[in-house]
Amino acid sequence: MMSKIVRTISNQLILLVLIFGLYIIMHGHVTPGGGFQGGAIVASGAALIIVAFGSYEIQKRLKERHLSILESGGALIFIGLAFAGMATVFFYNFLVGSPVFGHIPPFGSNPGDIWTGGVVPLMNIGVGLKVLAGLSAIVLAMALAASGEEMEE
């Protein structure tokens, strides 16, 4: 556990890091970014909180069961969307042209429209949840092992 100044500032900073990471995940089909990059940004925010408060305090709130549920949920969203286009072929983009995320952008340079993309923004959310939970679980397990405690069952 670090001093009072570090704890106060990281309390305020974790909100900005969380909003920025979710922005990068959601706009992955319009601007550079996507699921993997946004998940790594949110996991680095979790590492900031673990360093500032000490892993024993964080482990009382952020249990490993909740991270496991998040990670499995993200993987199931990804595989469910891959199977949903099974009528034509595995991984078929069946949402292009339909009212959900189905606009088609004109060819060439254009200001980006967020409702384009078909099945790609939903897959971005699934992969972003999976990377977020996975990297946070790795950082939490290693911080607990370094300070001498053990993870609860």
């Binding site: 992955g28 089909h29 319009v30 601007t31 550079p32 996507g34 490993e64 990670e71 993987a75 990804f78 595989i79 891959a82 991984f91 983009n93 292009v96 189905g102 606009h103 088609i104 952008p105 004109p106 060819f107 254009n110 980006g112 384009t116 993309g117 078909g118 099945v119 790609v120 897959m123 971005n124 992969v127 999976k130 990377v131 996975g134 679980a137 790795i138 397990a141 290693m142 607990l144 092992a145 053990e150 993870m151 069952e153």
Partner: protein
């Protein structure tokens, strides 16, 4: 003796890498038939502005599926390794 053999093999591999760095295509002019098709047709086939995201999730979605599996296996392995130590310490006491 073993270190001499290892040093000779390392020298052969480094010479091979340097010679093949000169024999590749000139830097800035790659052969690109498949990528030209993807740059031209990704806006009306997949509907995204970001061609890299369309390649990652639509044209080559199987690679992303394999990578998600590797990440899941690694996280399972790390959490399992840091949980098994408590039971061994209780057994040794």
């Amino acid at each position: 003796m073993r270190r001499v053999v290892a040093a000779v093999c390392l020298g052969v591999v480094v010479v091979f890498l340097v010679v093949s760095a000169f024999l590749l295509h000139p830097f800035g002019d790659p052969p690109s038939q498949m990528d030209d098709y993807m740059i031209q047709n990704s806006q009306n086939e997949t509907g995204t502005n970001n061609v890299v995201a369309a390649v990652l999730f639509d044209y080559r979605g199987f690679d992303t599926l394999g990578e998600a599996t590797v990440l899941f296996t690694a996280v399972t392995g790390v959490v399992m390794l840091f949980r098994a130590v408590k039971k061994k310490e209780e057994e040794n006491k």
